[in-house]
């Protein structure tokens, strides 16, 4: 990246950065995300792992796409949820599709479990980051294999870890404190959904890129289930919201 010194009219020197993104050779790389998904929340519960995300694809500040499926199942044993650039998520799904295909082609009784997929994704994300051309996503990978539950996260710079409950984006700030306080090892499915919905509601109220259309996905040893989209009940009847201009007469 080269820096160009620009002398402003009033004598201040501004420095602009010239990106070598589109150089003479015509190479390109990711600079900013365009269509983005917001938080994904995931947690382990008694029988497996459960993930939730809304179905919104924002185009900057516009809530442009409202039926984006941001949680997909990978092979027999894993679920992948993504926030960030949706086109990069689709690219990742293509990589994983090929990976699972080749794995199935062996037809030998061995299969890639969630741990293997998580690590593979970590390598992909980290390698892209090293080329300064990241896949602009935060990924949540959950799964169950042979009774073992697995839940992990990978970021766009290749940071990865496993935990009992994870969240991306705003979820880190709004959902995780709730999960830290109320998560238990032996939550039943219904309790887990209730806890997740509690977090989703907070995100719906407070995250401006969240929409009221969610999918909850669960994975157990038996298999994957991704729910149909549904909405949460919200309450806006707070007294402070009545007569919004009560305390301020006039247009300002």
């Amino acid at each position: 990246m080269e820096r160009l010194a620009i002398h402003h009219a009033n004598g201040m020197e501004m420095v602009a950065v010239k990106d070598s993104a589109i150089s003479e050779n015509g190479t390109e790389r990711t600079l900013y995300p365009y269509v983005t998904g917001t938080s994904v929340i995931g947690m382990k519960y008694k029988d497996g792992v459960i993930l939730a995300a809304d179905m919104g694809g924002s185009y900057g500040s516009t809530l442009r796409y409202k039926s984006v499926e941001r949680i997909k199942h990978i092979g027999k044993h894993s679920l992948l949820g993504a926030s960030g650039e949706i086109s990069d998520f689709q690219e990742i799904l293509r990589y994983l599709d090929e990976l699972i295909l080749y794995d199935n082609m062996w037809d030998d009784g061995n299969s890639l479990g969630p741990k293997e997929v998580h690590n593979y994704l970590t390598r992909v994300m980290y390698n892209r980051r090293n080329k300064f051309n990241p896949l602009w996503n935060s990924l949540v990978l959950g799964g169950v294999k042979n009774g073992q539950k697995y839940l992990g996260m990978v970021g766009m710079i290749g940071t990865h870890f496993e935990d009992n409950h994870v969240a991306t984006g705003f979820g880190n700030h709004l959902a995780r404190p709730i999960l830290r306080a109320e998560w238990r090892e032996d939550l039943s499915f219904e309790e887990a959904v209730k806890l997740l919905e509690k977090c989703l509601l907070v995100l719906l109220y407070r995250d401006r890129s969240a929409i009221n259309k969610f999918q909850i996905a669960k994975i157990t040893d038996e298999g994957v289930t991704i729910s149909q989209p549904y909405a949460l009940k919200t309450y806006w009847g707070f007294s402070a919201f009545q007569n919004p201009s009560k305390g301020a007469e006039g247009s300002w």
């Binding site: 062996w106 030998d108 009784g109 061995n110 890639l112 479990g113 741990k115 293997e116 998580h118 690590n119 593979y120 390598r123 042979n146």
Partner: protein, 283 residues
């Protein structure tokens, strides 16, 4: 097998549909010092006879650890074996790096077989002159495979390769049905007994053999001399007690050099969970 006009090149077929160079490579395996492998549902044991070039030299290494869950024993050109072991280690470690989990044994074996097959179809190459007994554990269980220079591989309950291996095979043929239920120590004992069979009367001591084990909760490792000697001693004691057990010593048999058995090899790769009845064992 005798010299003929079709055996100069590995890429020349004989009119009978055989690749003589590949068969000659398998002869090299038969001339090497013996190696045996046995498996149960939870453990796999490899044992080899270590020939020393002379009294002054050290013994040849024939058992290699490939990863925590896989090891190989070789017979034939040990230099080729060493190179292949390096390849196998590389494959395992690359897989571990990307997937954080051990490479399934069957997949490793297929890659090795494919590598060997390439050398049977290039005029500027020669087949590897080494047979490998691959012992490993993965989530589908304990496995023992034999990879031969032709590029074929088979899965076995128990197998022996190298010189005088027929004696070991005969011994194991009588007992293999019980192997799945064997404990780890019984497996080791039988492995040493099988090795003893190949020695044809020579004294079995821990200094001329190597034994390695891999099992559930037990990474691949070689047993130390003291442990091996203790097992050998217990075998000897049992033998002295039961003189009727002398019947166990099978008479020496010449390696069956019948070439028509080799033709079965030229066929495409077969993956079989085999007991000894697939005995074109003279592979």
């Amino acid at each position: 097998m005798f010299r003929n006009q079709y055996d100069t090149d590995v890429t020349t077929w004989s009119p009978a549909g055989r690749l003589f160079q590949v068969e000659y490579a398998m002869e090299a395996v038969k001339q090497g010092a013996a190696a045996v492998g046995l498996r149960s549902t939870s453990h796999v044991v490899l044992a080899t006879v270590n020939k020393a070039a002379s009294d002054l030299s050290s013994h040849q290494r024939k058992v290699f650890k490939i990863d925590d869950h896989i090891g190989v024993a070789i017979a034939g050109l040990t230099a080729d074996g060493r190179v292949l072991s390096r390849y196998l280690r590389n494959e395992c470690i690359n897989h571990s790096f990307v997937y954080e989990s051990p490479l399934p044994v069957s997949r490793l074996v297929v890659r090795l077989a494919d590598k060997a097959q390439v050398c049977t179809q290039r005029s500027w190459k020669r087949p590897f002159g080494v047979g490998l007994l691959v012992a490993g554990l993965d989530e589908t269980g304990a496995h023992l495979y034999y990879n031969c220079p032709s590029g074929n591989y088979f899965e076995y309950q128990a197998f022996a390769i190298g010189s005088r291996s027929q004696a070991a095979k005969t011994f194991m043929e009588r007992r293999f049905e019980a192997f799945n239920g064997y404990s780890r120590d019984e497996l080791i004992k039988d492995a040493l007994f099988a090795i003893k069979e190949t020695l044809q009367g020579e004294k079995l001591t821990s200094s001329i053999c190597t034994v390695a084990v891999v099992g559930i909760g037990e990474p691949f490792h070689m047993l130390d001399q003291k442990t091996i000697q203790e097992v050998i001693d217990s075998i000897d004691i049992k033998e002295d007690d039961a003189s009727a057990a002398a019947a166990d010593q099978a008479p020496m048999q010449e390696e069956d050099k019948s070439s028509e058995a080799a033709a079965a090899d030229q066929a495409s790769m077969q993956e079989e969970d085999k007991s000894s009845e697939a005995a074109p064992m003279d592979i």
